[in-house]
């Protein structure tokens, strides 16, 4: 369901787009929020057209199809936003490694934490490249705040691991 919502949201916010366009937007603007490749997006758009949530335009150049959100699609999107109590579940491999960190000896734990820290750093760099004035600004601010917090956590844990007294 969330994939549909994400697609409807992009079509609503940024206007008609092809599956390819939408896949690019998932890669760039939406990447820190939801991920989907073209192999998931193309079939989903076909189903959404069948359900009347989007209109598939006629094929353009290079087989390009442009999808437009329908009034029913807009209605469903608003309904989900207002009525769906989003669950804050997390399935994080990083958090799992953090959870299991005590299973490692000190040197291995430090190496793992350094890799995790580097991952956060890279993620921060990616997010910092995005415009804070773009459509997804609220989500971007949340992402930035969370990744900065995560970096700080990584630094604290590393300091403790390196301090023999810890």
């Amino acid at each position: 369901m969330s994939l549909r919502i994400a697609l409807l949201g992009l079509l609503s916010a940024k206007g008609p787009a092809s599956g390819y366009d939408l896949a690019k937007k998932f890669e760039h603007s939406l990447n820190h929020v939801w991920q989907a490749g073209h192999t998931q997006i193309y079939p989903e758009l076909v189903k959404m057209a069948a359900d009347g949530l989007v209109d598939a335009g006629s094929e353009g150049v290079r087989g390009r199809k442009t999808y437009t959100i329908t009034p029913e699609g807009t209605r469903r999107l608003h309904e989900w936003m207002i009525e769906h109590a989003a669950v804050g579940v997390t399935r994080s491999e990083v958090a799992l490694q953090a959870f299991l960190l005590p299973l490692l000896d000190r040197d291995d734990a430090i190496a793992v934490m350094e890799r995790i820290r580097a991952g956060f750093q890279g993620r921060l760099a990616t997010l910092e490249c995005q415009s804070p004035a773009s459509f997804g600004a609220y989500a971007l601010r949340l992402g930035l705040a969370q990744v900065r917090t995560s970096l700080q956590w990584a630094d604290e844990v590393l300091a403790e691991l390196r301090n023999p007294a810890g």
Copy 2:
């Protein structure tokens, strides 16, 4: 793969356990890191036993089976911890709603943000109940730091939405 690792990790850290025990541990200690119900855990344990990662003990009272991690299971667990560069992907419905927030008018956006904030508050309460001295302490600290940051973000966004000048 991560489900296997989580199960191996619990068996390694907390000793032999049944599928039921492991499901309970997923609900309690591991819940903020990875989720899995018994319908996923039971079949996975059977496959893991077939792959030599765990030993299934003989059936005890009420059909209870106790699984023990094998040396091969321990080896695989350590290998994953040390070699697997965990990807920090997030698929968050909450972040998706935050992303799409500008699609709503002011009152609806405030209502949605209040619901999101309440979700974070509830999550914080849950995490605060857990012992900071337990096995998963590092992950718990990360979870607490992230949820506190998220709450702060929600408060800021709500303040902006309520301020007509924003």
